[in-house]
């Protein structure tokens, strides 16, 4: 493992020669061995200790320890600090060691993966870590790529190979890589062994989509690009084998360069705690200064005269110096106000909460066999304070499964689920789906509930036939038939997959295609259409068409596309049909379905011939090819005949609308940030009820320039303010106030608004001078949807809210494009779904269903927050009560830093006597049962408003602690001052006083924790009673004869416990102290509960009453998905189609079809790589339009 950690000189460029290990050795490139672990057995202790002492708290305690070794200062024995410190260091070290052990294990697993390396002309199995730069390795189908490789050759034609990059960028659709032509012929080992090309390329970097280099071979130069590279982390798919030359290995690979150290996240409670600790530290110094002055004055006035009996230390020559020393002494004994065990206890509690999350059966997804996982154990209580959720769409809200749900054919709508009486059936009471058994080629997974459509097909309705014929012809799906009748569709957009599958099941089976033909089984008869042209899809056209010639020789154009576009292009004869279809489209859109309109047009032979000729010429034109083609396409797609419309359901994840509704009730604002198109995003917004048709207005910002965006945002704000004014809900604001305090006004607007903003508008909106405006507008809206955003923009939006809103943000997503926002947000949640594991790896929490979010936040988060707050309040209280007694005692012992308690009590108080009960409360406490937190989402509010632990609560705890310490000191003082024991002996000796105060302190804080504990499980009982028992056991043990005999100078309190605690007056003192310390607390708590109950109190109270009455009434507000009420207001298009341009051309070129399956010879005319160029260009153009390369737009769906 050590060889991983070499230091290497920085590189200017990288030179790699194939098959020349000796040559490459000179450059000392990193080997392919990766190391994510931090320690080994030897370095663990020093390195870990070094790291731990970088923590301020630990250094502080080390400093105290050193202070204690100075005899003039030492007011405590050295072990009072060292025992807790060692305990804390050990716990942390054990945790670090286990973490590192697992990293070692995973490193080993990765490093020991096998790969085939070409060494001395033969393929040999090697472990990954032994692969060197310059080696040629062979990959087989479905293998992980071991390092960053230059693709040399593959089993596929033209040196193509397909890879899946899920682990790298989260996209699950396959990507194509191609070897450069000269090397693609090197297909056997003997020729590869002779390959001695040299690559000179860029130095290791983290840019996943860029590579530049040159291959020098046989005196020729070949330019290399990312298109020739296979990156570590990818998986080879659909390619039998390929060979690659290792360019970057191990830590130099782009994957590893990208996995930067994750930022360490702190919770807001952490930050508050740190501030408070600083304040407490300041307070400590103040106390020290007061007592030091006291000491100086005392030594000057009293101590100087008392020197006869108690001379000053030899080093001390003046009262002032004595005061100075006493300052340090007091710092030592008062240090327990900042208890070292605080940080460890907090970590332990959070760890416990993390385990509860991991163990939660209700967050386990049986289908994917994944339990929820708290990957970070330090953020739990922040889950109870979330105000903003930023959600990805695809894979998070939706399953990215498209289902053919409804259709409208020639003015009749099919697809409504009907019950016996013909009424629309509610969800959940579905009858049997339609039986497709007549069709041997049907896809068994396809479900449709309206038998009417199948009947129409079987009755031979020509419109329905034409409808499905269109669906089976007009697409870019590839089919694969492994066995007879076993069809697999490779669709590059899931929508198309759904449409073609629907056609397949209704008897129009798309069977096979060649570049020039499409074979369709129409109700059992194989018909081969001649494919004349594919008028490809793009985002401007929003439609695609095919021109086919049927066996009878008729030429027909089939077109599908957006309603907004197609309805304008219909033949006037369709007017009536169009209006009916529009009604249907509205209905579909209202249900959040994605709609497409289908149309056809017959073309005359002559016209087509002419058009085709012009098309051919245009496609060969050197300049403005695109424009010419577009114009030609536009010309032919006119005066079409309407066939109908389809509606596809973008399947939501389970329970998404319900979850969103509950989270909204909990006052959490949900923003959807998606790389998808606005249409799709809006559709999903409607289907998961973030947007409703009842909303006052949905603002759509699509401006391209700064001015436009600003204007649109301003208008939106004005409208909202107009709205709230016209609503006139007693909220009439003066103009002046409005203009000066815009945000506050917008906070209180009436009516529900939503904001949809586009990627390029967002880019402007996020600029420094507009971001506030944007934020104000967006925060005034109930729902915000950002579309076409890049991963970086996702992070920027999160950052913006974090910066100005001071609110806790949570980002949830499943793809690699969500990683940036997951890392930026306070809490990142990864959906462990289909899209790789990058998001999960970057996330703090992961589970497999969006709906678990409500449980994570409302149950786990809420409890964590509650428990942590109660814990902190109690912890500060108990330490102040404990420590401040020393302060009061200082005034009575000449400010000499004499402790009140036995030193063992001081050592053990925080780590034994009082630690476990409060830990048990911090881990197990519950105020209301989990079901109630779902029923009353408002219970979540205290966390968002920071009500349970803030500076005010802190001061209350401190005040309570100080109050307790005053009584704890002065009541025993009053009693002891001139009292005697029942047997006449002296009572007020120091040791008896110490035992009395310590005992009453332990009892008071135990009673207090008993009051604070709202949920007494057996464990709480055990710890609370156990702590008291342990206190007395240890007390008697420490004061026993045996220990004293062994260490007379250490255990001085011999016989004290039995002598002191036998006195009734001591017990009376303890009882009085307890009563006086506790009763005010009880009174205040009761009055608060009685007069100003929190929601949780009320819920608990009703729970109690309910339990008594044994009656049940549900108050759950069900939130269904039912699509009641038609859309109001202006018509809304339901168009959404995730498709990518370029595949039409790819199909027509035949490049993606196997050599065996077709006669390629006739298509060799076009340049072989042009389609790849086109694809890349299109994609590049797309992403420069500020869109996400992944998102939902382009994913493969195998149907």
């Amino acid at each position: 493992m050590e060889l991983c950690a070499q230091k290497r000189p920085p590189e200017d460029e990288r030179r790699v020669k194939a098959n020349a290990r000796d040559y490459n050795e000179k450059f000392q490139y990193a080997s392919n061995c990766i190391k994510t672990s931090k320690y080994n057995i030897v370095t663990f202790l020093p390195v870990n200790l070094f790291e731990q002492f970088q923590e301020v708290a630990n250094t502080y305690f080390l400093f105290l320890l050193i202070l204690q070794l100075i005899p003039q200062i030492s007011s405590l024995s050295w072990f009072t600090t060292i025992v807790p410190l060692v305990l804390v260091l050990t716990i942390t070290a054990v945790k670090d060691a286990t973490d590192d052990y697992f990293r070692h294990k995973s490193d080993n697993q990765v490093n020991n993966r096998q790969s085939q390396v070409l060494i001395n002309g033969t393929l040999q199995q090697e472990q990954w870590m032994n692969v060197r730069v310059g080696d040629i390795i062979k990959l087989e189908n479905n293998q992980f790529v071991a390092a960053d490789l230059l693709l040399l050759s593959s089993s596929e034609p033209h040196g193509l190979c397909y890879i899946e990059t899920a682990e790298l960028d989260g996209e699950t659709n396959m990507k194509v890589r191609q070897a450069i032509p000269v090397t693609s012929e090197l297909a056997d080992t003997s020729r590869l062994a002779q390959f001695d090309g040299e690559v000179i390329c860029e130095t290791p970097n983290n840019k996943l989509d860029k590579f530049s280099g040159t291959l020098y071979w046989k005196e020729n130069k070949y330019l290399l690009s990312n298109q020739n590279m296979l990156l570590r982390g990818c998986v080879l798919r659909n390619t039998e084998w390929c060979f690659g030359l290792v360019i970057f290995a191990g830590p130099d690979t782009k994957l590893m360069q990208n996995s930067g150290r994750t930022k360490f996240k702190r919770t807001s409670i952490d930050r508050l705690m740190n501030t408070l600790v600083l304040w407490i530290f300041g307070f400590l110094v103040c106390m020290g200064v007061i007592l030091a002055f006291g000491n100086a004055i005392w030594e000057y006035k009293v101590g100087a005269r008392f020197q006869m009996y108690l001379p000053w230390d030899t080093a001390v020559d003046s009262a002032a110096f004595s005061g100075f020393l006493s300052f340090w002494s007091y710092i030592i004994i008062l240090n327990t106000v900042v208890p070292i065990s605080l940080y460890v206890s907090v970590e332990v509690i959070r760890l416990g909460h993390s385990y509860f999350i991991n163990w939660d059966k209700k967050m386990y997804c049986a289908k994917r066999r994944t339990p929820a996982e708290a990957r970070t154990t330090t953020l739990n209580e922040e889950l109870g304070q979330v105000e903003y959720i930023f959600s990805d769409k695809t894979g998070t809200l939706t399953q990215n499964i498209m289902v053919f749900s409804k259709c409208s054919v020639h003015g009749r709508s099919y697809g409504d689920v009907q019950d016996m009486l013909g009424h629309k059936a509610e969800l959940g009471e579905r009858p049997e789906p339609v039986d497709f058994s007549f069709n041997p080629l049907a896809d068994p997974r396809f479900r449709f509930w309206d038998a009417g459509l199948l009947a129409a097909v079987q009755l031979g309705n020509p419109h329905v036939h034409e409808f499905f014929r269109l669906l089976s012809l007009c697409h870019t799906v590839m089919s694969e038939e492994k066995n007879e009748g076993e069809l697999y569709y490779k669709a590059q957009s899931p929508d198309e997959g759904a449409l073609v599958t629907a056609a397949r099941n209704f008897g129009f089976v798309f069977r096979a295609r060649t570049p020039k033909t499409i074979t369709v089984h129409e109700l059992g008869h194989a018909i081969t259409y001649q494919l004349l042209a594919i008028l490809d899809f793009n985002n401007v056209r929003k439609r695609m068409s095919v021109i086919v010639r049927n066996p009878e020789g008729k030429i027909r154009l089939y077109c599908k596309g957006a309603d907004t576009i197609l309805l304008e292009r219909l033949h006037p004869a369709n007017l009536e049909l169009a209006s009916i279809t529009t009604d249907h489209l509205n209905e579909y859109a209202g249900e959040g379905l994605r709609t497409l309109v289908l149309a056809y047009k017959d073309l005359e032979e002559g016209y087509y011939g002419d058009w085709a000729e012009r098309l051919r010429r245009a496609s060969l034109a050197p300049d403005a090819r695109e424009d010419r083609l577009a114009r030609l396409y536009d010309e032919v797609e006119h005066d079409m005949m309407l066939l109908g419309a389809t509606a596809i359901e973008d399947k939501l994840q389970q329970g998404v609308p319900e979850t969103i509704a509950i989270l909204t009730l909990a006052n959490i604002k949900i923003w959807v940030l998606t790389g998808d198109k606005p249409e799709t995003a809006v559709n999903i917004g409607y289907s998961c009820k973030m947007l409703t048709d009842d909303m006052t207005e949905v603002f759509v910002v699509t401006g391209h320039t700064v001015l436009e965006v600003r204007e649109e945002l301003r208008k939106a704000r004005e409208k909202m303010m107009d709205g709230s004014r016209s609503m006139g809900n007693g909220f009439s604001c003066q103009e002046k106030l409005c203009s000066s305090k815009l945000p506050s006004v917008l906070e209180a607007i009436a009516g529900e608004y939503a904001l949809v903003i586009n990627g390029h508008s967002l880019a402007h909106a996020l600029e420094a001078d507009m971001e506030l405006e944007f934020l104000e507008t967006a925060c005034a809206c109930k729902a915000v949807i950002c579309c076409r955003v890049t991963p970086l923009q996702k992070a920027q939006v999160v950052e913006l809210v974090k910066k100005y809103k001071k609110a806790v943000t949570l980002a949830i997503g499943d793809g690699a494009n969500d990683v940036s926002m997951i890392k930026t947000a306070h809490i990142g949640v990864g959906i462990s779904g289909l899209e790789g594991i990058q998001a999960v790896l970057a996330a703090d929490y992961s589970f497999s269903q969006f709906k678990f979010l409500q449980r994570l936040l409302l149950v786990h988060g809420r409890w964590s927050y509650l428990r942590m707050c109660k814990f902190l309040c109690y912890f500060f209280y108990k330490n102040f009560a404990f420590t401040m007694v020393h302060f009061w005692f200082g005034f009575f012992c000449g400010f000499s830093a004499q402790t009140v308690y036995d030193q063992y009590f001081i050592t053990l108080y925080n780590i034994v006597y009082t630690s476990l009960p409060v830990l048990a409360m911090g881990v197990f406490d519950q105020d209301v049962p989990e079901q109630r937190s779902m029923e009353y989402p408002k219970l979540y509010e205290p966390g968002q408003l920071n009500l349970l632990f803030n500076k005010r609560e802190f001061f209350i705890c401190i005040a309570q602690g100080i109050y307790t310490s005053v009584l704890m000191f002065f009541i025993p003082y009053g009693v002891f001052a001139d009292a005697t024991r029942g047997d006449g002996a002296q009572l007020a000796d120091y040791q008896s006083f110490a035992v009395t105060v310590a005992t009453s302190l332990v009892i008071v804080v135990s009673v207090q924790i008993g009051l604070d504990t709202g949920f007494w499980t057996a464990i709480n009982h055990f710890f609370i009673w156990g702590s008291l028992a342990v206190y007395f056991a240890i007390l008697f043990a420490m004061h026993s004869n045996g220990l004293f005999q062994m260490f007379p100078n250490q255990f001085r309190f011999v016989g004290n416990a039995q002598n002191t605690l036998a006195q009734p007056i001591v017990w009376l003192t303890i009882a009085l102290t307890t009563v006086v310390c506790i009763m005010p607390v009880v009174a205040f708590r009761f009055l608060k509960l009685d007069l100003k109950p929190e929601l949780s109190d009320t819920v608990r109270y009703t729970q109690l009453v309910r339990k008594k009455q044994k009656t049940q009434h549900r108050c759950m507000r069900r939130v269904g998905r039912g699509g009641g009420g038609g859309p109001r207001g202006p018509r809304r298009s339901g168009y959404a189609f995730s498709h990518q341009e370029g595949f039409g051309e790819l199909i027509m070129s035949g490049k993606n079809m196997r050599l065996s399956s077709l006669a390629l010879s006739s298509f060799a005319t076009r340049s072989s790589t042009s389609w790849i160029e086109t694809l890349r260009k299109k994609k590049g153009g797309d992403s420069s339009n500020a869109s996400s390369p992944s998102g939902g737009a382009d994913k493969t769906l195998k149907v």
């Binding site: 006869m308 059966k361 004293f1044 007379p1048 011999v1054 016989g1055 009763m1079 009761f1086 109950p1093």
Partner: protein
């Protein structure tokens, strides 16, 4: 074992969490609630208890008879004499008279009380060697006794440390005037005043055939008149480190004003019932100067009851807190009844 591992191989371990009450956070639990009934009755009960307790304590404390004599002023001349260290060997006797109007019945305890004597000072508290007091032969130079550990010539002090050195060493005797001229000494017990554990566990004399040889090679602390083995010349078993006066002194006080038990009345002859009424005199051989640090010395004669001496503090504290708790209970009841129905969150 093997069958189990084979089973594991057949069914990959389920990742589904266990359905245990602990892991699902469904442990049965008692959820206490501050109900009006329990809180109000709690307040009244505790209030009643405290009041009763307070009255009992006050009555008990009032039944204690106590005489307190400040003799630091009366013996001012002795105090002045002592402060000059050259006079350490001269004896100074002073006496304090007082009259008992009525007799003190029962066990009578004699205390000395010091004011402004900071026995609870950190350096003072530390300045002792428990090992030495246990009779062990330890090197006291390593203990906290400095500067009272050894003399310049290296002779260790026995006992060492500031506490031992500053031991209260006034010799006090009490005389009772049976008539105007004749006074008889009141018999007082020197032993049995300290804790059993102190006398028999915490303190031991060094083992040797006699005490003198046990303390051989050591010297008395500088402020002592007599070496440790001569503290009680009459009683061999009350000598050296296990001398009761010494043990009591070594149990340092928590505050700078304190009283230590010094003697007990030996209830014999005319003192069988306690101290009869009449005139008394304390004869004090003054050895312990306090005036330099503005200290005060008292002698106290007192009886005790079950709850100790005459201090009224606890009784009053109980009465006051009992009253306050009761009052608070009534106020809370009033508030609760006035608002009658529990307001709910939803009604707000």
């Amino acid at each position: 074992m093997t069958s189990k591992s084979r089973e594991d191989a057949q069914h990959p371990p389920s990742r589904c969490p266990d359905n245990s009450a602990f892991k699902q956070q469904k442990l049965s639990a008692w959820q206490p609630e501050l109900t009006p009934a329990s809180v109000l009755s709690g307040f009244i009960l505790i209030g009643v208890f405290c009041l009763t307790m307070g009255v009992c304590l006050i009555l008990s404390a009032r039944s204690v008879k106590e005489v307190q004599i400040n003799y630091s002023d009366k013996c001012l001349n002795c105090s002045k004499l002592r402060e000059n260290s050259s006079n350490w060997n001269t004896e100074c006797l002073c006496s304090a008279d007082f009259k008992l109007e009525e007799k003190i019945q029962g066990d009578v305890f004699m205390y000395y009380s010091l004011q402004n004597f900071y026995q609870n000072h950190r350096r003072y508290v530390m300045s002792r060697s428990n090992a030495q007091l246990l009779g062990r032969n330890t090197d006291i130079r390593n203990s906290n006794c400095a500067p009272f550990s050894t003399y310049r010539n290296g002779t260790p002090m026995a006992p060492c440390g500031a506490i031992a050195n500053s031991m209260f060493n006034d010799t006090i005797s009490l005389f009772y005037y049976t008539n105007l001229s004749t006074a008889i000494q009141v018999p007082l017990l020197k032993t049995g005043n300290s804790w059993w554990t102190d006398k028999y566990v915490k303190f031991h004399n060094p083992t040797s055939h006699n005490l003198t040889s046990a303390f051989a090679g050591t010297a008395r602390p500088p402020y002592w008149q007599k070496p440790a083995y001569l503290l009680d010349e009459e009683n061999e078993r009350n000598n050296g480190y296990i001398n009761d006066d010494f043990i009591i002194w070594m149990r340092v006080s928590a505050f700078h004003t304190f009283r230590n038990l010094h003697r007990r009345l030996s209830r014999t002859e005319q003192f069988a019932d306690g101290l009869p009424a009449g005139n008394y005199t304390f004869h004090i051989f003054y050895n312990f100067p306090v005036s330099r640090f503005k200290g005060k010395k008292y002698l106290i004669l007192s009886t005790v009851v079950w709850c100790g001496g005459s201090s009224l503090f606890l009784g009053i504290a109980y009465t006051v807190s009992g009253a306050v708790v009761m009052l608070a209970g009534f106020i809370i009841t009033a508030i609760h009844l006035k608002l009658k129905k529990r307001k709910t969150y939803f009604q707000r």
